[in-house]
């Protein structure tokens, strides 16, 4: 605590208490009679000093924190409240109460340092994670590109061999394989197209599949129709579902309409409570009327794929034609 004489030249210290002397390291005799600016030093903030001077000139009270220096030259943060004390002639004294805020300031500085360090660490970690994500995304694109390109190569291989094979069973088999690969390719092309790697839209697949199959048919005689809801299924089911739908449709076209018989194949899929229900139906000659097929690869493949998806299948000789009803359980949509 310090009292200064406002009426003496340069507002000198008139009295300082023991606490002030201890805080600054000066003897009373070294302080009394001198202006308090003797405590300022090289790092003292000039703007704060100017505020103090302005308050004293205007005789207004003021609370500030100022970096001051002890007698031994060490700095300390001095929080002070300066109050003018007036009598009838005007300001007689200034009364200043002080507190050493050095520890508080040190804590603030340390805290700021810790915060800066934490932010730096978070930035570095975020940067590393983004880089890793970028790398993974690039890898996914690369693998996706390779799978698609390889499907194209496999399909080209099959078709090239088919072209060089005389008309007959072998050629039909090669073309059948190329068609199956085509169905897988359509599924794969749609897999990552919407940026969603986890799901596959069965409705989109059906639309493309239908266009591809119908392009190879004589529209006067045969037609394929689809009524497929936009069901989102897990990406892992894209390939088996594509194969299944292709196989049943191709089977119907191959066996249901002998001797230039005209007809239609319809594909329908709808969501059920815990999965999906798929119907593939034709208005052809029916199962019983078709000659027995000893190879029966198509039907085998279909039953295998349905089992793989933990579904059930029923073949019905519907009047007219054949109807295949399949139920497949689906994971609840995420």
């Amino acid at each position: 605590m310090v009292i200064t004489d406002a009426r003496a030249p340069d507002n000198p210290v008139a009295w300082a208490n023991e606490a002030f002397l201890q805080a600054t390291g000066y003897e009373a005799a070294e302080i009394v009679g001198r202006n308090c600016r003797m405590l300022q030093g090289p790092a003292t903030d000039r703007a704060t000093v100017a505020r103090i001077r302005a308050a004293i000139q205007a005789a207004e009270p003021l609370s500030v924190e100022l970096l001051n220096y002890r007698k031994d030259g060490t700095p300390f943060w001095n929080a002070m409240t300066i109050t003018p004390v007036s009598d009838a002639q005007g300001v007689a004294f200034y009364y200043a109460a002080q507190a050493d805020m050095t520890h508080t300031h040190q804590r603030e500085v340390t805290m700021r340092g810790t915060n800066d360090e934490l932010e730096r660490l978070v930035d570095a970690r975020t940067h590393a994670l983004s880089a890793a994500l970028e790398q993974k995304t690039a890898l996914l694109h690369e693998v996706d590109h390779r799978v698609k390109n390889n499907l194209q190569v496999i399909s080209s291989l099959m078709l090239l061999k088919a072209r060089r094979t005389p008309e007959g069973e072998a050629r039909d088999a090669l073309q059948g394989m190329a068609e199956r690969i085509g169905a897988l390719s359509t599924a794969h092309r749609l897999l990552y197209s919407e940026g969603d790697c986890a799901h596959f839209n069965l409705g989109d697949f059906a639309a493309e599949f239908l266009a591809d199959m119908n392009a190879g048919l004589d529209p006067e005689r045969h037609r394929i129709e689809a009524d497929v809801e936009p069901i989102a299924v897990a990406a892992a089911m894209a390939a088996p579902l594509a194969l299944l739908i292709h196989e049943l449709t191709a089977n119907a076209l191959r066996h249901a309409f002998p001797d230039a018989r005209e007809g239609r194949v319809s594909i329908a899929a709808r969501r059920t409570e815990c999965g999906m229900h798929l119907t593939i139906q034709d208005d052809g000659i029916g199962l019983g009327a078709a000659p027995p097929n000893p190879a029966g690869f198509g039907r085998n493949l279909v039953e295998m794929v349905v089992r793989q998806m933990r579904g059930t299948i029923a073949w019905r000789d519907g009047g007219p034609g054949t109807s295949v009803e399949i139920d497949i359980p689906l994971q609840p949509a995420a």
């Binding site: 694109h141 590109h145 390779r146 194209q152 080209s156 392009a215």
Partner: protein
Amino acid sequence: MGTGNAAADSALRILVVEDEALIALELECLLDDLGHVTVGIAGTSAEAIALGRSMAPDVALVDVHLVDGPTGIEVARALSEDRRTTVVFMTANAKRIPTDFAGAIGVIAKPYSERVVASTLDYVADRRAGRSGEACPDGFLPAPG
């Protein structure tokens, strides 16, 4: 299956820019089935640009990834400078195509079906003949704008 219905006036002279020999060969057969003429097959960007300059094809089908890297973009830019040539990308790498499509009119995504190749070429033939009636075929993604 090929419709083989390209009328004499809509038969296109096509340059195939594709580094995968099997795909290129099968594509050539398919184009032949469709009634078009393959005027050359190039696997590198240098070959593609040289063939493009000497043959001035009606259409160039360009893969993004070639023997010398993802240089199909440059090839598209170079070939589309000649206004006689319509460039169509044919790639499994559509994400690499810049937003201006490097002068190409669109992209056929691999793995493609024969139907999409056929209908895209019909569409290109119509556009080149100034017939704009035909809608853009599905499976073919046109360049924006």
